[in-house]
């Protein structure tokens, strides 16, 4: 297919359609509303299900119902809306049905703003809903990658009967870039041996997240963990840039990773041995890749559009073998490549942070930068 100019949100919507999306349920919220609006046009013309729900609670539970039938189903929202969906996300995880959820993140906490942010990393990767459940989280850094990962998300969700969430910031949802759309895939009515479709010519099936006997629930928790181990072995994805001889490794996901790449290239032009690791799956996280790097690099610089959330995962992987520095812009502020370049130069000149938690040093450095 030729490249076309696609807006991030609309590209995700069309990529989902071409991956065989059978039903979409959503609710308006900036900066993701174009996904809802695009599918409001597109799904009916293909005879597929589209409902603008009464709330994010309604939307996620419509997703839950449709997912129980084995249909390819998706919802999308932005940070506050995803918070509302967390009840349903936990139920979907506990019922072990596949669903794709897109979070076009904005500044928070609370109502926050509608500017680009990565502040929902921990919610997506480490928490969110109640209970012990794993989930796959993909973090695209370009419109093309958003298209490719949308298609992948459905396959991963179905393979592992697991929630697969795309997290991207508002700028990626709103920006237009040339990108190649995959061919339209036909709708395949998959015959899952768990799907609830009416007990025609088979024993009835029940899909539920209730296990009133704690011993039975314990079995479920272990089953989910075992499946997660398979995901961790098979599905870690990341992009590396200039890592072969890098002494300093910048780690960033999504837009922050993309901005960092510009800074890394500029630093390379200045002769600094710096590279970039950009996790594509932030869950499962490329811990072992970072662990290996930690054995021979001088140190790491984590850059995020939040207060340092993925930073904890990098430190976990590094296990104290090398210093881990942080530079972030929270609240909906997007860093410029120059800011990250300045950080790289600082580290290249040997000025590592004095605090054991480099986020404290960063906050002190930011005191003169942030507007009061």
């Amino acid at each position: 297919m030729p490249k076309e100019l696609w807006k991030g949100n609309e590209a995700i919507a069309e990529a989902a359609v071409r991956a065989g999306l059978q039903a979409y349920f959503g609710y308006p919220i900036t900066p993701q509303s174009e996904i809802l609006e695009y599918l409001a046009r597109r799904m009916p013309e293909l005879g597929r299900a589209f409902v603008q729900a009464e709330s994010e609670l309604g939307a996620i539970n419509m997703v839950y119902g449709a997912a129980c039938t084995g249909a390819r189903v998706m919802t999308s929202s932005s940070s506050p809306g995803i918070s509302l969906m967390m009840e349903g996300i936990s139920y979907i995880a506990g019922t072990e049905v596949p669903a794709v959820i897109v979070n076009v993140m904005r500044g928070g906490p609370g109502l926050g703003n509608i500017a680009p942010s990565q502040a929902d990393y921990n919610q997506a990767v480490h928490g969110g809903g109640h209970g012990d459940y794993p989930r796959i989280v993909l973090a695209p850094a370009s419109v093309q990658e958003a298209i490719d990962l949308t298609a992948l998300a459905f396959d991963l969700a179905e393979t592992y009967r697991m929630i697969c969430m795309l997290i991207l910031d508002g700028s990626l949802g709103q920006m237009m870039e040339p990108a190649e759309m995959p061919e339209m895939k036909p709708i395949v009515q998959r015959e899952f041996d768990w799907a609830v479709t009416g007990a025609m010519n088979r024993p009835r099936r029940i899909l539920s997240s209730i296990y009133i006997d704690p011993v039975a629930e314990e079995v479920v928790n272990f089953r989910l963990a075992k499946r997660w181990q398979e995901v961790q072995v098979r599905e870690v994805r990341y992009k590396e840039y200039y890592l072969d001889d890098a002494e300093i490794v910048v780690v960033g996901f999504g837009t922050a990773g993309r901005i960092a790449l510009s800074a890394v290239r500029a630093a390379r032009a200045e002769g600094i041995s710096v590279g970039l690791l950009r996790p594509v799956t932030v869950s499962p996280y490329p811990y072992s890749v970072i662990e290996e790097l930690a054995k021979h690099v001088q140190g790491f610089l984590v850059t995020e559009m939040n207060m340092g959330q993925m930073f904890d995962d990098v430190r976990l992987a590094v296990q104290g073998r090398a210093p881990v520095e942080f530079y972030g812009r929270p609240g909906g502020v997007v860093p410029f490549p120059d800011e990250i370049l300045a950080e790289i130069r600082r580290l290249a000149s040997g000025q590592w942070s004095p605090d054991p938690d480099a986020r404290l040093s960063w906050q002190k450095r930011m005191a003169s930068v942030i507007q009061r």
Partner: protein, 259 residues
Amino acid sequence: MVTPTTLVYSRPQAFTDSPTHYCPGCTHGVAHRLIAEVLEEMNLISRTIGVAPVGCAVFAYNYFDTDFVEAPHGRAPAMATGIKRVLPDRIVFTYQGDGDLASIGMGEIVHAAARGENITVIFINNANYGMTGGQMAPTTLPGMKTTSSPYGRDVETQGYPIRMAEMLATLDGVGYCVRRSLHDPKNIRLAKKAIRLAFETQLRGLGFSLVELLSTCPTNWGMSPVEALRFVEERMIPVFPLGDYKVAPGVAQITVRNT
């Protein structure tokens, strides 16, 4: 000796062999049986997907020999919407109590009705939260004592009961919306006819259908089963009048033979 000619009562085919978990004297069992009889009579068992609520009927899926899902508290109409939209030729029903439907799930039920979702809702109104130990529900009568209205529901501070059937009947997407009671055999027969009409409404694509059933909760009301039935008749019906609140013209033309 029971022979096919003398057999007048048996377990409906739509039921499993599971023993009941409901309290003695509770009318959930009656409501379940009416649904099972209707599904069997309409030959819908293998086409039906039920959506269980959170509440005493959380285990409804144990009793019906149909596919079932179990919804988060109040969200059954949203789950049913998701199922029905991808499988429009299946029969989808929710079974919800008053806390589930009229409190935490108010948004979901109102909008499912407003969209005219072609689903059937069986709404059990027993004026309290049964499963969690008898707390005040949106349907608790004025002055009625519950564990969270120990001095009796004070309408000045705790508001008034919500009449769901009347409220939902105002929405254009609703095809059939009635209130019945399960307090005596005559009313049980009328309730069954209403449940039949509700499923007929869905089968014919005539929109959202809901049957509200006034029910007993002897355990949490602190009454004997007989006293509880009398309470429904004497105290609940004056607050929740029985009646047909919406019967769309297409539904009114349906004739259902008494069974």
